[in-house]
């Protein structure tokens, strides 16, 4: 029996999280011995399937290429995975908004529990996952025959991509077409950015309410340019309309674990820390020396950000 992974993709690109889910699956495979299959569902997804086939450890890519799966709406996607799931011991997906949207449906249709955002694989049925905004780590054992699991990508080192440009995995079409009379896609407003994805960036620079307004977020641009960084934000900065929602880092936003995280004008609420405290090196710039962010920062600079940021940009050369 094998492991099925739902590929995460956007705009014809396989997201980096999928390779991290494959890495988690390889750890499961170490005890189950089954194959790793990747399901690519969407419309016009041949390139995504090829990218998935190049991931080390993947034996087969199953492609459901049909208009009904365009935009990966939960109803048809859930029905598709439900249909395929009986061949597998585990169904895994990245804890992305797509994975979170659809996997619980699959679990319910199979009458099994779902484990959310695992951060480690202890064995084929036992996993660790954060609870209470990461203030506790639970070790949980699934007693169900089918394990349905979302994976926190940042907790796993991505599976390698085979170098030959040609994957060893076979690619095979799935002809099941789910019917969906319940939901239709209307539109999408996707953020356009040349910067790396938040979840995959080596450096993240985030601004909080202390930035004052959206204009001031430009102070982070020059620094991010020099460091090849992604730009993130606290909830307060998003709620205030400084920046769009897809930049929110935290318990209920994106989870990041870069080599370097620079928090600017962010107080360090537990909900924010939940999204970034696994970063290797944390820098905090805040004018309040009592700000809780300093309790977890490796390097804290008590300063007015409006002075410190231009200076930092300049020093980065």
């Amino acid at each position: 029996m094998s492991i099925l992974i739902l590929a995460d993709h956007q705009d014809g690109q396989l997201s980096s999280a999928t390779a991290q889910v494959v890495a988690a699956a390889q750890q499961v495979q170490a005890s189950t011995g089954g194959e790793i299959h990747v399901l690519v569902a969407g419309e016009g997804v041949a390139a995504v399937a090829e990218a998935a086939a190049r991931l080390d450890g993947v034996a087969k890519v199953r492609v459901a290429d049909h208009a009904v799966y365009a935009h990966q709406l939960a109803e048809p996607l859930g029905a598709l995975i439900h249909k395929l799931a009986s061949d597998y011991t585990h169904v895994l997906a990245a804890a992305s908004t797509t994975g979170k949207n659809v996997l619980p449906r699959v679990a319910a249709l199979k009458d099994v529990s779902q484990l959310s955002e695992i951060i480690s694989v202890e064995s084929a049925d036992t996993f660790k996952r954060p609870i209470y905004a990461g203030n506790a780590i639970a070790t949980v054992k699934s007693d169900d025959a089918l394990k349905v699991i979302t994976v926190r990508g940042t907790a796993f080192d991505a599976a390698a991509v085979s170098s030959q440009g040609q994957g060893s995995a076979s690619i095979e079409a799935v002809d099941f077409v789910a019917d969906n009379a319940q939901s239709i896609f209307i539109k999408e407003e996707l953020a356009q950015s040349d910067r790396p994805e938040l979840g995959a960036a080596k450096v993240v620079v985030s601004g909080g309410r202390g930035m004052g307004n959206g204009e001031n977020f430009r102070l982070l641009d020059g620094i991010a340019d020099k460091l090849g960084a992604a730009i993130g934000a606290s909830r307060a900065a998003v709620d205030a309309g400084f920046v769009p929602n897809d930049m929110q880092v935290g318990q209920t936003g994106k989870i990041v674990a870069p080599d370097l995280y620079i928090a600017v004008g962010i107080s360090g609420a537990i909900q924010h820390l939940a999204g970034m405290k696994d970063s290797k090196v944390i820098v905090a710039i805040n004018k309040d020396e009592e700000a809780p962010i300093f309790q977890i920062a490796d390097y804290g600079l008590v300063a007015d950000l409006f002075q410190a940021l231009p200076e930092l940009e300049q020093r980065l050369g």
Binding site: L73, T98, N101, A108, I131, A136, S183, L260, Q271
Partner: protein, 249 residues
């Protein structure tokens, strides 16, 4: 249209929890409890739909111990018309909660059901989606805008790449994200009035659901603590440390 809202009693979001010394679970003795913040947003949205004349009745439902009636009373004070308490002392996993809610949906036949996207204790983010699957209904998770028109729900969702808008036939399941609305505070007269609003108590067994779980909790540990760092006195020193000590530049 009737709207059903699911509310969960959880630890107050300001409280930093502790793990029990024997690592069996987190310690919730004498900890302040409250309505899950995403459920507050769900109640608020339902009440606003009623104020706009789109909904005719708002019904709040919770599954949990007797004390969870406090959160139902809060929902009533915020504007819900009546409440259903599905009482159980057993821990309720997401699938069991979804099964109970599916029974309530079957009995109440709402036009719309709103849940939080995530309970901040388990951080599961599952029940709305599971309920949608069990009830055979369409879903829109992580909603930042809900428009009810011509018998359909148009919902804008916060997704990783930005925003996505979908249209659902009704009845439908919606789960709330942070930007959907800003919940109001209950006023004292409303809190008084809420005490007289109808609240019925039932049990999972009466609804024909057995509370089981496919997951065994083996251990709960505190997370790895970060070593306390240092304060630097200038941008120069910061850049120097990042280059020569942390070696991340």
């Amino acid at each position: 249209m009737k709207i059903l809202v699911a509310v969960k009693r959880v630890i107050d979001y300001n409280v930093k929890i502790r793990v029990k010394a024997d690592h069996s679970d987190v310690d919730l003795t004498n900890v302040k409890m409250a309505m899950n913040p995403f459920c507050e947003i769900a109640v608020e949205e339902a009440v606003r739909l009623k104020e706009r004349g789109i909904a005719t009745e708002v019904v709040a439902v919770t599954i949990g111990p007797k004390a969870a009636q406090e959160q139902l009373r809060t929902a009533l004070a915020l504007g819900a018309d009546r409440a259903i308490h599905v009482e159980t002392e057993a821990p309720v996993e997401s699938l069991a909660a979804a099964k109970v809610l599916a029974k309530v949906v079957e009995a109440e036949q709402p036009g719309l059901m709103i849940l939080g996207k995530q309970a901040i204790d388990s951080d599961n983010n599952q029940v709305g989606q599971m309920l949608a699957a069990l009830a055979g209904l369409p879903q829109a998770t992580f909603a930042s805008e809900v428009i009810i028109e011509n018998g359909k729900a148009q919902v804008t969702r916060e997704v990783d790449g930005g925003l996505q808008t979908v249209e659902l036939s009704l009845p439908a399941i919606v789960t709330t994200d942070l930007r959907l609305n800003e919940p109001r505070y209950a006023k004292l007269p409303d809190i008084m009035k809420a005490k007289k609003k109808p609240l019925i108590v039932t049990t999972p067994a009466e609804l024909g659901v057995e509370i089981t779980s496919g997951v065994t909790l083996l251990k709960v540990e505190p997370p790895a603590e970060r070593q306390a760092g240092i304060k630097v006195s200038s941008v120069d020193e910061l850049v120097d440390k990042l280059k020569n000590e942390a070696k991340v530049l």
